[in-house]
């Protein structure tokens, strides 16, 4: 349980870190400052960058256009007009807009595009108040696998507390999300025949279901399926790996 929570917490932190990293994405290098831009009649303009950040906004929110051009005598952005070779400009488009930058010199013309995507705001009826965790997330974090002895499908004494905590968590999930359905997958280790294991995995899934139903979990929300030994967690020929594979696992929805 602890490790699972830790894993979820870690995942969350990781996601936040990832999001932060996105915002902190290193900006393009500052325009060369030491040698001031010296328009050269011989060179075609070089557009070092032309970006919009963020590239996706809600209607009415700002996005920052940034650009850097060298060797240009004239820099234009359609809809904005003539601009300096290096600069930034906030824009507030109300629909997805592509900004077109044209840099010209006697040496030629260079062009670049930057697009600001305006996301459609969710309509109220499709945006219910979201629980802090989805039902699937709660299932993954709060409902543990049940394990079995070799060639057995009865719930072991040491797994009774797991069944009870699984039952409590499942009842909470179903109360909160009445349309949610859970599939109990029965799995086996690799040693027995694939044929016998298909039927044994079915027994493990249905024994787990029966135990949960006896603790008050609504049976019509619990589907069962056997994967026999077709989907092992690990494939090492060790008792530890065999024991991990002899399990009833909970997955969201019907497969």
């Amino acid at each position: 349980m602890t490790t699972r929570r830790a894993a979820v917490a870690f995942t969350t932190v990781f996601m936040l870190a990832l999001a932060a990293a996105c915002h902190k994405k290193p900006l393009p290098p500052p325009p060369a400052s030491a040698p001031p831009p010296q328009p050269s009649a011989a060179n075609k303009p070089t557009i070092n960058y032309f970006t919009a950040e963020p590239s996706t906004i809600s209607s009415g929110q700002p996005s920052s256009l940034r650009w850097s051009v060298t060797d240009a005598t004239n820099v234009q952005i359609d809809g904005i007009g003539q601009v300096s070779p290096n600069g930034r400009r906030a824009v507030y488009p109300t629909s997805t807009t592509t900004y077109h930058l044209t840099a010209t010199s006697s040496g030629g013309t260079s062009e670049a595009d930057a697009t600001v995507t305006v996301a459609t705001p969710p309509t109220p009826e499709t945006a219910p108040a979201r629980p802090t965790q989805t039902s699937a997330e709660m299932l993954a974090s709060q409902v543990q696998d049940v394990h079995f002895d070799y060639d057995k499908s009865d719930i072991r004494g040491q797994d009774q507390t797991i069944i009870q905590s699984d039952a409590t968590a499942l009842k909470t999930i179903f109360a909160q999300d009445p349309t949610f359905v859970v599939t109990i997958e029965g799995h086996c280790d690799e040693r027995g025949s694939a044929e016998y294991n298909l039927a044994l995995g079915d027994r493990r899934a249905s024994a787990t279901k029966d135990a949960l139903v006896s603790l008050g979990v609504p049976g019509d929300k619990l589907k069962t399926i056997s994967y026999g030994k077709e989907r092992p967690l690990c494939t090492d020929p060790t008792e530890d790996c065999y024991a991990r594979n002899r399990r009833a696992h909970f997955s969201a929805g019907t497969q």
């Binding site: 070799y150 060639d151 690799e190 040693r191 027995g192 025949s193 694939a194 044929e195 016998y196 298909l198 039927a199 044994l200 079915d202 027994r203 899934a205 249905s206 069962t224 399926i225 056997s226 077709e230 019907t254 497969q255």
Partner: protein, 456 residues
């Protein structure tokens, strides 16, 4: 110990090379001694004859029905057609040191000592490969050459390597048919392979040629079996999200209608000898998987067993159609049981120690082959054969990886199975006495072979 002893000469042969072997190895004492010459051809057919000859040698050399005499002992000249034969016995004073092979006595006397002689030739005829194959008895009491002839046949095939293999198989099958062999020509093996990614159903010719993918479901499809008429492949697939039975026509490759009963699992189809009904394993009605019977389209569904324990892998006796074997957990670890077609008169066949699974009937309904751990560590399966009446068992594999799913060939003389020797699981075939093991597949993981009769 016996098997280990047998394995040694096989490896020795491989190590020193076949071409250096010129010792007659009599592997089946008392069996007919058969010599078949290298057949030759002219024109476009000439290059195909090596393939034809090696096919014949392989089929005859691997057969437990005869002893094939090594070609190194043959006379330097051989007959190519009956007109080449000279009647009678050469006067002993006139017999050259190296017999010219034109008289049947050149073959019946040492060093060849054959009881039978096969010879012939190939030709190209309007873009096709045509092989003329004869088979003669060399018995000394034959009054004439005509009466010594056992058969003479024409084998027409496509003028390519596949055609040469096909013609070779047919000629060898006609020879083996003289000694009680059922031809394997036209029989196929369905199996499961993951070589395309997901586990799919595949089919190949019995000799491993022409391997073809039958399903492209991208799911897990496994446990294939076939109707005795060779027309339908049944298997289990997760295509609809749970293990259910599917039927394919082997003629068209198309799905056939099958009504799966409402159950968390429907699997392991076996057909009655008339290919009209099936018995399978299902969790319909709840509880552990039990045996049910139905029509081939799933209608007429009826429960057979109510053991309360797992019942899987039913296999109807192909000879009688009146009894079946299955794998049951009714006494603990899975064991092979025998019962009648109503699921009654239940009797355990396997010894009760270890795990016994994957039973498969011999075509005569007298033996089963099965996979057994023989009381050893779980998962350490080997192939055994049991006489169902006497319950005597013979071990066919040992110390060669995990060996499972034996399936008997229609000739009753070969058994295909899955083996993990060499790492990944592959389909192997051996003689029903455990000799002549060789692989039929190489690519990906291949498992669950089921030998399909030639279409009737």
């Amino acid at each position: 110990m016996r098997l280990r002893f047998l394995a040694v000469p096989v490896f020795a042969c491989a190590a020193i090379g076949w071409q250096q072997i010129n010792v007659t190895i009599i592997k089946n004492p008392g069996k007919p001694l058969v010599a078949v010459t290298d057949l030759r051809a002219s024109g476009a057919a000439a290059s195909l004859m090596a393939t034809f000859n090696s096919t014949v040698v392989s089929d005859l050399g691997n057969s437990p029905l005869i002893n094939f005499i090594p070609k190194t002992l043959y006379p330097l000249q051989v007959p190519q057609q009956p007109q080449d034969l000279v009647a009678g016995v050469a006067p002993s004073s006139a017999r050259p040191v190296n017999p010219q092979g034109k008289r049947l006595t050149d073959w019946s006397l040492p060093p060849v000592s054959a009881n039978y002689l096969g010879f012939g030739y190939g030709a190209e005829d309007r873009g096709q490969l045509v092989v003329f194959g004869w088979f003669y008895s060399t018995a000394p009491n034959m009054p004439s050459l005509q009466q010594a002839q056992v058969f003479g046949k024409v084998y027409t095939a496509t003028q390519d390597a596949a055609g040469a293999v096909d013609a070779g198989h047919r000629y060898a099958a006609d020879i083996l048919a003289q000694f009680g062999g059922t031809s394997l020509v036209g029989s196929r093996i369905v199996f499961v392979s993951n070589r395309s990614g997901a586990k799919e159903i595949w089919v190949m010719n019995w000799d491993g040629t022409d391997q073809r993918q039958l399903t492209r479901y991208g799911s897990t499809s496994t446990f294939p079996s076939a109707s005795p008429d060779g027309r339908i492949v049944a298997f289990t697939s997760y295509t609809a999200g749970y293990p259910a039975i599917y039927m394919l026509s082997l003629d068209t490759g198309r799905r056939m209608p099958f009504y799966n009963q409402r159950a968390s699992m429907n699997a392991f189809v076996t057909f009655t000898p008339d290919s009209k009904r099936i018995i399978f394993s299902s969790t319909a009605g709840g509880g552990a998987a039990q045996l049910f019977t139905a029509n081939v389209d799933g209608s007429g569904f009826r429960r057979l067993t109510s053991s309360g324990a797992i019942e899987v892998e039913p296999k109807v006796n192909p000879k009688t159609g009146a009894d079946l074997v299955d794998v049951s957990g009714r006494t603990g670890y899975p064991q092979v049981y025998h019962m009648n077609m109503e699921g009654a008169d239940v009797h355990r066949l396997s010894a009760g120690t270890g795990e016994a699974t994957n039973p498969g009937w011999s075509p005569d309904g007298i033996h089963i082959a099965f996979a057994w751990t023989r009381g050893f560590e779980p998962g350490n399966y080997n192939i055994f054969v049991m006489d169902v009446t006497s319950e005597q068992t013979t071990q066919l594999t040992a110390n060669e990886g995990r060996n499972e799913n034996p399936t008997w060939a229609p000739d009753g003389a070969h058994i295909a199975y899955a083996s993990t020797r060499g790492g990944r699981s592959q389909i192997w075939v051996m003689n029903a006495d455990g000799t002549g093991k060789h692989p039929l597949t190489q690519t990906g993981n291949n498992e669950k072979p089921f030998w399909v009769n030639a279409e009737k």
